[in-house]
């Protein structure tokens, strides 16, 4: 089994500014996803907007904080799931249940020796 981080990217504010019927539909999609994937979901959260983000960089021994996300992009990370699956096809099949508003990046996690979970 491999752990996969599923990153949900979309337009900022799309969820908040959508009409209630769409929001309800998308919400139901997440619920269906949760039911289908079940215990294979190891974690997942919806993230607050990038206007609430703080980026930390360490330069020459000092910690520098900047307001905003680490990269300005057209699509912003809006949430994530951490899943456990046998293979990529399984993850793709599950992700097809999620709302169509996202670009979904699927990243396998690497097992690092000496790190236990």
């Amino acid at each position: 089994m491999t752990k996969y981080l599923v990153l949900l990217a979309g337009s900022e504010g799309e969820w908040e500014n959508a009409d209630p019927a769409d929001r309800e539909r998308w919400h139901r999609a997440h619920v269906t996803f949760g039911r289908e994937v079940g215990a294979a979901i190891l974690g997942g959260e919806a993230l607050d907007g990038t206007d609430t983000a703080t980026t930390l960089r360490r330069r020459g021994g000092s910690v520098e904080l900047t307001d905003g996300p680490y990269a300005e992009t057209a699509e912003y990370l809006g949430g994530f799931y951490l899943l456990e699956a046998a293979d990529l096809d399984q993850v793709v099949k599950w992700c097809a249940l999620l709302p169509e508003i996202y670009s979904i990046e699927i990243r396998p996690c690497i097992q690092i020796e000496g790190m236990t979970d």
Binding site: T2, Y4, A85, A86, D87, L88, D89, Q90, V91, V92, K93, I106, P108, E113
Partner: protein
Amino acid sequence: MEPIEVVWRDEWGRLLALLVAQTRRLDLAEDALADAFERAARSWPDAGMPDNPPAWLMTAAKRRVLDRLRAEAVAAKKQPLLAVEEVKRLEGLGRDTPLVPRGTRPAGSDDLLRLVLLAAHPALSQEAGAALTLRLVLGVSTADIARLFLVPEPTMAARLTRARKKVVAAGVPLAIPDDEVLPQRLETVARVAYLAFTAGYAPGSGEGVLRAELSGEAIRLVHLVRATGRAAADNSALQALLALMLLQHARRDARVGADGSLVLLPEQDRSTWHRDEIDEGMALLGELVGTRGVTLESALAAEYVLQALIAAEHARATSAADTDWLTIADYYRQLEDLTGSPVVRLNRAVAVAEAGDLTGALGLLDGLEEALPHSHRLPAVRAELLARAGRHTEAVAAFDLAIERCANARERQQLAARRNRVAT
């Protein structure tokens, strides 16, 4: 062909598929099988061919995988038990699995399909998928794949390494997906095969003939895939693609002149076209169009069918003058409706002009400049049409633009010669 080359050609994909299925190690399996073939090349000439060459190769390859696994177990002292268990499992497999029966198609054909679907997975770019599929399924050498795609061999080797790494790390499975997903995945196989096919016909320098031969590997791939079972044999995109490739590839010998230059369709010696391949393509196409018409449920299949129908019209014509351009122009219209491609529109304009409607053809070129700003073919076609319409000054200007944009020296010469004839 040497006997071992025949075995390589016929058995590589099936053996690798079995080996990957049993060892679950793509990286080790590929190296081990290549190594087994090398051993065979050294020992068979003296010792003679074994009774069952695939079984011999499979045993040698499996032994090699076991050696590597043992070496890994020693190197990674942390998990010796795991590796030892794996070695045991494989040793067991060697004893109780009947080795590959020779020449029987059904045995191992699911394994082969799994390998094809892994290599031509949509998680890879089509270029990477095409290269990996040729390598894993057909055993085409990295050097030949590099020549096909017109890149230096180290570049192709790096591209293949990246693709293998992605397949392993991302967890692309060695599996046949559900019935709802499988047709789509087979269409990805078709796209990948067609990419490999067209690469062989892309203009390159010098080695044109050899590269057209490599295009034939894409045909072999689709034949192999269609032989794996019903799902693949019934896939209309794969069938249409096979028809299309057969019809186009049948003209390969006529495309190259005595001096190695490209011979265009009107000037080709049609007696050198491979009639048996044309017949095979026509039969496949007839099955598709006959039963379902051009409106297939799959857009990709419909696209390939229309392209194949165009190739079939050319194949049917006994001479260039005999070509039914009206029918071809209509197929291009349908193809343009389906794809919205500006290149298709350009080809449609040529067909419309050949069918006798110069004004209509020139009208079709309007607005294409925006979609094809760097194309030399667009001004070249416009120039030719203008020349035929007797508008010589405009034609010369269009030829000049085409010459300026054309990157291929030989084609530039041909354009310049034509321009000068029109100018005088």
